[in-house]
Symmetry: C2
């Protein structure tokens, strides 16, 4: 499940990516236009900045902008920053691996193998979709 926070992060990035390169955009503008609670959005953008996805300028005439080209920003990465691993279960996560306490033998765990497939198909999509591609999803027909 994608958290609201992660959804807000994606919305904000999409919004910024639609602006001219390096154009400074106010938190309050994004907040109003995308209907995201401002104080909540502040935290999100700050976190994006800490992970070098965004740059900012303080003070009057300040604002946020993308720190790299949208085609270098991968959606999977953004979601991981906010929500943690994409894997449906920690024992099939690559970065966030954790053993199941109750698992008797991981090597033969059927559930693990199935969830690994789910993880892989999800990551296949999200780690191969850039912000640029996300912007161009309009054309993609999904019924």
């Amino acid at each position: 499940m994608l958290s609201k926070k992660a959804k807000y992060a994606l919305k904000a990035l999409v919004y910024l990516a639609k602006k001219k390169e390096n154009e400074l955009v106010l938190i309050s503008e994004i907040s109003v236009q995308e209907r995201i609670p401002k104080k909540f959005l502040e935290q999100i953008l700050l976190e994006m900045k800490k992970h070098f996805i965004l740059h900012s300028k303080r003070g009057k005439e300040g604002g946020y902008y993308l720190s790299k080209n949208p085609d270098e920003i991968f959606i999977g990465n953004i979601i991981r920053i906010i929500d943690g691993p994409l894997a449906p279960i920690p024992c099939v996560s690559k970065l966030g691996y954790q053993k199941c306490e109750e698992c008797i033998d991981e090597a033969t765990c059927e559930i693990r193998k199935l969830m690994k497939q789910v993880r892989d198909s999800t990551c296949d999509i999200l780690d191969n979709t850039t912000l640029t591609q996300l912007l161009n999803m309009k054309g993609v027909v999904v019924l």
Copy 2:
């Protein structure tokens, strides 16, 4: 994210599927063998029963057993019973659809289209995997 509850449910079903058809199995046996808290497991099995996945017999010599062939039990269905929709976001769920409050136009929402792809790939796997197939995952190589 798969909840522990759903994981326990799957473990219990796998356990039951490995038994002889219609063999009665005690909650406490499953609890011990699969290391699932017994009282928690009770609730889970009861819910499976309500959804006609399991049958049970009360009293002495009682227990649980699968109410249908394992190749008629779909993993996606089980997870939905316990955790709700498989979709990463409610606006792309088929059964559990809900509009995003803050969404300005769902038809053009890029995030929605991407998440629809994630939903579809996940459901493709889970709605086409039966309990029988899950049992046979041993052979599947997943590195």
